[in-house]
Amino acid sequence: MADTGKIIEIEILRYRPEQDEAPVLQTYKVPFTDDMSVLQGLQYIKDYLDGTVSFRWSCRMAICGSCGMMVGGKPKLACKTFLRDYYPGKLRVEALAHFPVERDLIVTVKDYVKRLEGIKPYLIPKETRTLEEGEYLQTPQQRDRVMQFSACINCMLCYAACPQYGTNPKFIGSGHMAILDRYNSDSRDGGREQRMEPVNEEDGVWGCTAIGYCSVVCPKQVDPAHAINKYKIESTMDYFTRFVTPGGGDK
């Protein structure tokens, strides 16, 4: 690393369950260059200053969605955020808001993953085809229809941006709705009916009050707020169409 003489103070909200009753702040002085991300700052701390600091990371290029954390109080990917933007001030880094802290900057994702499984985030073919019949074809226009929401990387920043999720951890949240729509809107998919149950539930889309911050913080321009609000319309349609659909009232 080139020595620029610049040193930034990084304040980390530490939580070590074996010794801390509650999270405590710890400050590190990190030499940095203008091209260094917050993630690289944390790696410097881990390598040279304090090996006990824990955080998740993998790809370093906003693809894997592992390094989401609160940077300067806002949900960010540490790999996509630069130290230079916070210098000469002090930079505070905390675990993603609204999730239980497992250790230091690592949050518990158990509930998140469980709910994700609930929305069946995979193609449920409309018609089963044998291997001889070939692949499920799709036109470029049909593919374009799902491109935006398929860009979600499950980084959970939208959940850290959502106070409704913070006050009710059972709330389905906007990120899952973007993923759900990615499959529901796929021309090859026939699983819509199976996916609508969690949408219409008490903790489904109606917990959203259109704050919209989730779409602001999304690092992949997925616009999850749009997805969840779209399903308020679909949920309403489901509610009313069941009265005019044969056998619909049984649901």
């Binding site: 369950p17 109080g73 239980p100 006050t167 009050t209 704050i211 911050y213 749009h226 779209k230």
Partner: protein, 132 residues
């Protein structure tokens, strides 16, 4: 040694943590002013049903300085109410395509604001026409 004892952080005062949340709460609060003004108009309808004298009394009450100040406050909150709701309209309505291209969020917001301005101007002109 590994101990699992997940720490849940408090949500107390969450809306003060971010300017975005403050603006959201301000948007929600404006609904109370809309409701308050709806009550004022409702009282007007009730007074109208009670006869001309009662209705004129309601009109006089609207002209007091206190009422005028109230109207100014309500006007300011209505402007914010209109702007903030049209601002989130792009996320609350289905994707729109014109000529195969997606309508941009800014266009949707501006169209909503323009519709509000036109509607206000139309009501103003009609009411002025009736009263003169």
């Amino acid at each position: 040694m590994s101990i699992q004892r997940p720490y849940v952080r408090s949500m107390d005062g969450w809306w003060k943590r971010n300017a975005y949340y403050v603006r959201y709460m301000a948007r929600e609060v404006t609904a109370l002013f809309v409701a308050a003004y709806a009550l004022v108009l409702l009282v007007g309808v009730v007074r109208l049903s009670q006869g001309e004298a009662a209705f004129n009394g309601w009109l006089q009450a609207l002209k007091t300085p206190l009422s005028l100040a109230f109207h100014l406050v309500v006007l300011a909150t209505f402007v914010y109410h209109t702007w903030s709701w049209f601002n989130i309209m792009p996320i609350t309505m289905p994707m729109m395509f014109i000529g195969g291209k997606r309508v941009q969020p800014g266009t949707i917001t501006r169209a909503g604001l323009a519709a509000a301005v036109v509607a206000c101007a139309a009501v103003f002109v009609i009411v002025r026409g009736i009263s003169s």
